[in-house]
Structure formats: C-alpha cells, structure tokens
Amino acid sequence: MRGLLSVYKREIKSYFVTPVAYVFLVIFLILSAFLTFQRGFFEARQATLRVFFANMPLLFLFLVPAIAMRLWAEERRSNSIELLFTLPISTPQAVLGKFLAAWTVLAIALALTFPIVVTVAYLGNPDWGPILTGYFGSLVLAGAYLAIGSLFSALSRNQVIAFILAVVACGAFYSAGSPTVMAFVARVFSGGLAEAVEMLSFQSRFESIQRGVLEVRDLAFFVLLAAGSLWANMMILEERKAA
C-alpha cells in the first residue's frame, strides 16, 4: 500500500510540474466543448448532455493514449525503471499507482467540464440521472482506454510507438460495433462471429450507460478489460524490466 501511494503521489506531481497535465486539460476541454456545440447541442432543443457524452469515445480514443504513452516508455527510456524497481515497490503497486494517477488526471478533466452542466441546468430542467451515469460511464470508459494504453506503453521504450499501438488497439474496440465493421465481419465470417465482435464494442456499451441504463454486464465488460490489460502490463514488466 505504501509503495502504491508513493508512486501515485509522485506521478500526480510529475503531471503537474510538467506541461503534460495542463496541455491535456486545455485540449480536452476545448475539444469536448467544440464537438458538443458543433454537433447540435442547441439545435436539439433539449436540456440533456447526450451530445456531449456521445463524443467521449472518439475524444478519448486519441487523448487517453496520449496520456498513457509516457507511463512506462518514459521510464524505460530514461532508465528510471531501474531506480523504481530497485526501491521496495512491487510490480502491481507500481502499475496500479501509475494507472490511478493517470486516471485521476482524466477524472479532473471530466470534472472541469462542469460549465456545460451548469449551462443545461440554466437553460432547462435536465434529468439528472443520465447526466450522472454519463459522467460515471465516461470515467469507466476512460479507465478501459487507459489500461490498454498503459499496456502498450510497457511494450516499447518509444513513446510514439506506444501511442500508435494504443490508438490502433483502442480503435479496434471503438469501431467494433460500427455498421461498416459489422457488415464486413458478417460478410467475411459466417455465424456468430459478428455478434461476438459487436459485444466488444465500446460505443454500444457506453451508449447504454450514458442513456442512464447501468447494467452490470456493461460495467463488468469495462472493468474486466481494464483489469486484464493491467494484469498483462504487470506480466510484461515482470518478464522484462530491463529491455
């Protein structure tokens, strides 16, 4: 626990003493607001945040790997990984500490979108349930993306490679449920494969959470995916810390 907390604190500090966190927060806030208004927030004439949350899967697809890419690649490049793992810190503590710190930055980013909530509350009489589940779902979704990003960061000492691989992997989950992909899978492979692929879709699961439908299986999907990625992350580090 001590190791986890120390790593967490160090990571959080390092996000905020370097420009990383600030650049991320500003870009995230600008893009999330821009996409919301550009995609018809006012035209919908409804006091909901559906348009706002609907952008999250796409926004996170690029921004979360950007936060995640430095997690381990940077440690390997500067060889501080040798310092980290010769301190009395276990691999799970280090992986979770870093993951939670990055997740906290993402949570701060989401929290800072509060003006849009204030806006709908001012303009109308919103239903608070979907707004709460929307935020909760966004946080869970970000966690799943982040765990995948952390895994790919552990694979390479090059941040650019880590970023690209993470975007591709997250992109696969992002696009899994889209009509184009589904039509392609259905044409090439017969049988239940299309359904199986659809079950991996981030989009459709996130949509139902965001509508206010909190189902255990959707949550379990994200949690298990994140846990599996982090577990693989630990295995990779155990196997080859040096590299």
Binding site: R2, G3, L5, S6, V7, K9, R10, K13, S14, V17, T18, S78, N79, S80, I81, E82, L83, F85, T86, L87, P88, I89, S90, K241, A242
Partner: protein
C-alpha cells in the same frame, strides 16, 4: 552481509555472468573492476533484484534475492549505472519520494533529507529540477537517494563517473567514512579509486572472477602497477581490433 553463490545470467547467446561467487562483510569496501562487458553491472543488477539470475542465488543483508526481494531492496542502497532519476522532479521531492517508499515519514524524513543534503553537498540545488543540474549534481542526487535511508549494504555502480577531480575525491572520502558501519560494493574503471578507498579488489572478466584480493596483495603477487595487473589478468578480453580484422569478422 553479501553472499553470492554461483550467479549466472545470459542475454541470448551472450553469457554475461558465468558463475560468480564471493562474500563481503561489514567493513568491506569491495572494488569491483573489469573490462566493459565483463558482467559488473549485470551482477549488480541481480544483487539489487532488478534482474533475476538464470541460476544461482545470493543473500544481501541476510535476505535472499530471489525469495525476499522486498526485504533486500528495503535494506539496500543502490546507485544504478548513470544514476537514473526523475528529471522533472527537484532533488527535494525526489528524496521525499525515496523516503516515502521506504516508510520514512514526517520529521524523520525531513531530518534524513537534511542530513543527506549536507553529506552529498546538495545545498543550493534542492529546489531546481534535476534535469537542469550538471552531471556531477545529478550523480550526487542519485547517491543521496541510495544513502538517505542509511542502509547496511551499499551497491554503487560507477559512483564517481562524470565527476570532476574534487568531487571524485569527496565521494571517495564519503565512501571511506561510511565503510566501518556498512558493506559497500563499488564498480569503477578508475583503478586509483580502488587504491584510494577499497580494502578489497576484485577483477572480473568474461563473467568470471579472476582475482579477489587486496590491492597490496595483488601488487606483491603479480608485480607492477595496478594498471599492469589489470591488463595482465584481463588481456584475453582485448577487444581492440585492427580495421582489417574487424572487416574480416
């Protein structure tokens, strides 16, 4: 306090460490020398639990590096090659992190950091990002990290590399002053350093121990200067080739 038994480690086809055994006790300052690629850093990485050996084991401060790696790391001060640190942090926050991890908190932490700031001559740079410091300061920050918890065993991989002559002298004096209470292993390419602060001299070559003695004893036995003894014992390791040979290979 260090007991190494038949450590072996290979990287692919290269046998980096080919069965190294030695012991070191409290009061020992063991100078670990050898040509580049002889297996010095690899051995140190295994003793600090960063790499796991292919076979063999070792105990550090009474704990096994395989089964009790956590306790080993708790009782060890380790300075890795090139003294890696977190460059965006200041020495102060970096040392606080090193203390937190080891459970040194509150007043004890601030006291330990104050002491080490003095010992490692870091006053004046404690609030500057490490990345902006000179090489000498960075190495001393790394050294401070290894010493801040006052560990019984110290493993320092080239602690004076990149320091100016004055700083080298200071670090050697520091090592000497710590020697009585600790068991210290330092690797170095500077043989005068072995003479200056080590009471044991170990030479390894191609992953094996070729000499383990004191500088004086080796001088008596082999004759000549430390440099000559070193060359004599490791000459089969010679890696300098003429260009023709290089092309043929």
């Amino acid at each position: 306090m260090i007991d190494v038994k038949e450590l072996r480690k290979a990287f692919g086809p290269i046998q980096a460490v080919a069965g190294i055994s030695f012991q070191a006790a409290k009061g020992d300052v063991l100078g670990f020398t050898g040509p580049n690629g002889a297996g010095k850093s690899t051995t140190m990485k295994m003793l600090s639990c960063f790499l796991s050996p292919d076979s063999g084991t070792a105990t550090v401060a009474g704990y096994d590096i395989l089964g009790q790696s956590f306790q080993v790391r708790q009782n060890l001060g380790y300075l890795a090659e090139n003294a890696p640190t977190y460059e965006e942090m200041t020495p102060l926050s970096f040392l606080r992190f090193a203390c937190d991890v080891r459970g040194i908190v509150g007043a004890a932490r601030e006291g330990a950091i104050e002491r080490i700031e003095d010992t490692c001559a870091l006053a004046g740079v404690m609030h500057q990002p490490i990345g902006t410091l000179s090489k000498g300061y960075r190495r001393r920050v790394g050294l401070a990290q290894a010493l801040v918890h006052d560990p019984p065993v110290l493993i320092l991989d080239e602690p004076t590399d990149g320091l100016d002559p004055n700083q080298k002298h200071d670090v050697r004096m520091l090592i000497k002053s710590l020697a009585a209470e600790k068991c210290i292993v330092i690797s170095t390419h500077i043989l005068e350093e072995v003479d200056a602060c080590c009471n044991r001299w170990m030479i390894i070559s191609r992953g094996r121990v070729v000499a383990d003695s004191t500088p004086d004893e080796l001088r008596e036995r082999e004759g000549g200067s430390l440099d000559e003894i070193f060359r004599k014992l490791t000459s089969h390791d010679a890696t300098v080739r003429t260009p023709q040979e290089g092309e043929a290979a």
